[in-house]
Subunit: 492 residues, 2 copies
């Protein structure tokens, strides 16, 4: 039974207040209500943000995607600085299912800020992707991060289909609130289980646009990283990768191959789950998302949590992670995003204290959503085929020290598309500016007809966390549609 959407009401009230202050700057061709809501979403200042360098506007707030059920999705737009405009718009999605794009993408990967261990202050990420584009983070589906539903049952029957359709509805309404992005070059990107979300949402946008001469959502392509793509090939590749990296025994490798490869990745059989449990025990207390980096120390919330520490395709929990970067980032974000003043600044959880939909602690990932995930097709490769044929730009990247969706999984899945090769596997280089002789192999790449595969050397599951500089190089090349730079290639 749909409850009342307190949040939407509260936002509406806020809008009225802000509107009075902001109406003077409304553009002539701008829908008045869109403008008012957009200005209500403007982030004036984030608690703890640095005094210098924040030269880009930000907006965040809710877009209702189902009035009846009371489902509203939370977004956070980090625009490019004025001198970089007009730049493309890029939607970023994290996976899980159940994990927040605010927690991961925005706060420890490609977002403008990173959170200090005090859980209170922020610093600028030198390699923030809004140096190259306007980045729109979305917590999806409802029940994830700050996104909520007033219909409790929604939390127990989420699945790929509704996630895609709600996300599309979000986009349609968001473009009304931000009409300046209509017709702008638009890309969708994400990682991990967003390997499902990204192509699925891209497909809807593509199909709705079909026959429209000048579509509002001017989708040019998509990019996914360490992406769940095709259960059979992903699993074959994952098990092979585990064995080759010395994480599991010969016997368990054989057992996994015998028990799992024809299962659904998201809904494995009990027999397959038992094989996974064996593999997890053999693997030990490493960070499967980054197998060579230290874990956040054992006294952390992760090991004392009620959630069993499992690495299985169902439940790619990114909260066990492991030292140039801080392996305890989730803890800092959990503190920061539960601060009332932070939520106020973000226009998030606006009914807090009023008995509203989000009367629970903000969490990086939702166990409820994850444990009750419904429909999940075994493959999205048919969507790749459709969208390659449509001429969309499609890039797939992989951090090569991830054991959750390892490189070998991605190689097998992409190979299954049988695409002709345009440029064979080659090392790409990170040529530091003004030091072109100091080139390092950033990873490897192969250009297929219709798809570009890029690996990032030494990066785990969250590529922009582990290799921020290389990730920004990757992002810029994707936006330009240019292959990754070979040796002595152009400096980015």
């Amino acid at each position: 039974m749909p409850g009342r959407n307190f949040a939407t009401t509260a936002v509406a009230i806020a809008v009225v207040v802000v509107a009075a202050l902001a109406s003077a700057s409304a553009g002539a061709d701008d829908d008045e209500q869109g403008h008012l809501r957009r200005e209500a979403d403007r982030i004036v200042r984030l608690p703890g943000q640095p005094d210098d360098g924040v030269d880009f506007p930000m907006y965040s707030g809710y877009v209702t995607v189902d009035e009846g059920a009371g489902r509203a999705l939370f977004y956070w737009l980090q625009e490019a600085a004025a001198e970089a405009q007009p730049a493309p718009l890029v939607l970023w999605l994290n996976g899980g299912p159940g994990c927040s794009s605010v927690a991961y993408g925005a706060s420890e990967e490609l977002g403008a800020f990173r959170i200090r261990p005090d859980g209170a202050t922020l610093f600028l990420n030198a390699y923030r992707w809004n140096r190259a584009a306007n980045i729109l983070f979305l917590d999806s589906p409802a029940g994830v991060g700050f996104s909520y539903t007033n219909t409790t049952s929604d939390l127990y029957d989420s699945g790929d289909r509704r996630t895609a359709h709600d996300s599309y509805k979000f986009l349609a309404r968001w473009f009304e609130r931000f009409p300046q992005y209509k017709y702008r070059d638009f890309y969708i990107a994400g990682e991990s289980y967003a390997g499902h979300y990204v192509p699925q949402l891209s497909q809807i946008v593509y199909r709705k646009n079909k026959g429209v001469e000048k579509p509002i959502m001017n989708l040019k392509g998509f990019m996914v990283g360490n992406a769940v793509t095709d259960d059979y090939h992903d699993q074959v590749g994952t098990f092979e990768s585990w064995w080759n990296h010395g994480l599991i025994s010969d016997a368990t490798y054989r057992l996994l191959d015998a028990s799992c490869v024809h299962d659904s990745g998201e809904h494995p059989s009990p027999r397959c789950n038992a094989a996974y449990d064996k593999a997890t025990a053999e693997q030990g207390d490493i960070d499967p998302y980054s197998i060579y980096t230290p874990t956040c120390n054992q006294t952390s919330t992760s090991s004392s949590s009620s959630t069993p520490r499992r690495m299985r395709l169902k439940g790619r929990y990114p909260w066990m992670r492991g030292s140039s970067y801080d392996p305890c980032t989730e803890r800092h974000s959990t503190v920061y995003y539960n601060r009332p003043e932070v939520q106020r600044a973000l226009h998030a959880n606006v009914t807090a204290g009023a008995g509203g939909a989000m009367n629970y602690t903000w969490a990086t990932c939702s166990d409820t959503i994850n444990n009750n995930w419904g429909d999940s097709p075994k493959s999205v490769l048919h969507i790749y085929k459709e969208l390659i044929a449509a001429g969309l730009r499609i890039w797939v990247f992989s951090g090569d020290t991830d054991a959750v969706v390892p490189l070998t999984a991605t190689r097998y899945s992409i190979d299954a598309l049988n695409l002709p090769t345009v440029v064979s596997w080659y090392p790409w280089y990170d040529a530091k500016e003004q030091q072109k002789q100091q080139q390092e192999v950033g990873g490897w790449s192969q250009v297929y007809e219709g798809l570009t595969l890029v690996t990032v050397r030494g990066a785990g599951h969250e590529v922009p966390l582990h290799r921020p500089r290389q990730a920004l190089i990757l992002f810029r090349h994707f936006l330009r549609g240019k292959p990754m730079p070979p040796k002595n290639g152009t400096v980015v």
Copy 2:
């Protein structure tokens, strides 16, 4: 034609001088000449050594192994401190073929000192293996490092057989010079191509000891790391590992499998060499000996060297290497060991300036030796079988981020022995003293009947360089014959 052995003569002269000073301390049961030569070999002080902490005696010098040819092998003994005695004796050998144990084992891996970038000063390695044993480094065969021959043709027809026999001769004479090590527990260890040397020398010692009730060389076992073992299985595993780590294309993987797996690793066919060249080009300018660490920067001697930068089984040059550790260590050692005062302190190159055998610059590895390597059996697994049956302790370890002799190569080679499993694959832990809750996975291990396999997580080809603390834990467990510690295992 054998030339005159200037070095031996010079040593003899030195002995007379030193003998006069040292004769007072000669032991009663000690052969007088052995004692004199030993005292002549005592290292008084190394140039640039730290003022504190050097509480262990060291000796170095030459042992002639063939008077006719004028072949003399250089050794460096780093004894354990007095309070750790009596401790076992461990011979350490580096591979190549052609690479110096002084350059690698002693100076950047398990040895007592590391060389600073000034090429002049030393600091103590906190995890030096002489904390647990008396370590004997040997430059082998003649022509490698400080070891020399007066018969130039020796440099062009070296091979496994003579290397083993010369090394045995070295040992026999060395024990006469150091009789306090007679009957002492003795182990042989090494890495890379020493995967051949170590079992081969162990086999000779074992066979010569057979039937002797109380052998002088009291060989208890051997240990090898990232070891060349069995060409067929090594190559199958190497190619699979390269592909799984994203270093090569699908096409090159297939080409290597079709072109190389039945070849000799040391003497590949032109067809196989062409496939290797393709793989090397695809791999790019990474450090194959440690695929996730930076290379010593591109202006280094490695890229300007006349030696083509190849990664092939023939020519496992450890001089291309790549940041908690210094990736340019070979450069520092090349400076340090070419200093005349260092050579004097080490009693090395004693005929320098006299037109003696070593009238060339000391180098970490010898191209001549490497490029002209002779006999090299395709497998040493038959020796494993013989020595397992003999009850010797045999440990095999592998740094799991090495692409030269990767973990997968070692797994396939060991699997080919078909040994029964005693303890299945499990993660071993590095429990830091007094902080047992801060345990990290050091790697994985499997105990077979007669052989223990241990991996070291995140270590490259030179395990003690990349993971010095974990390497010392490994070494101590090997010496005790105790399996690697499981979670909550005993602190070392």
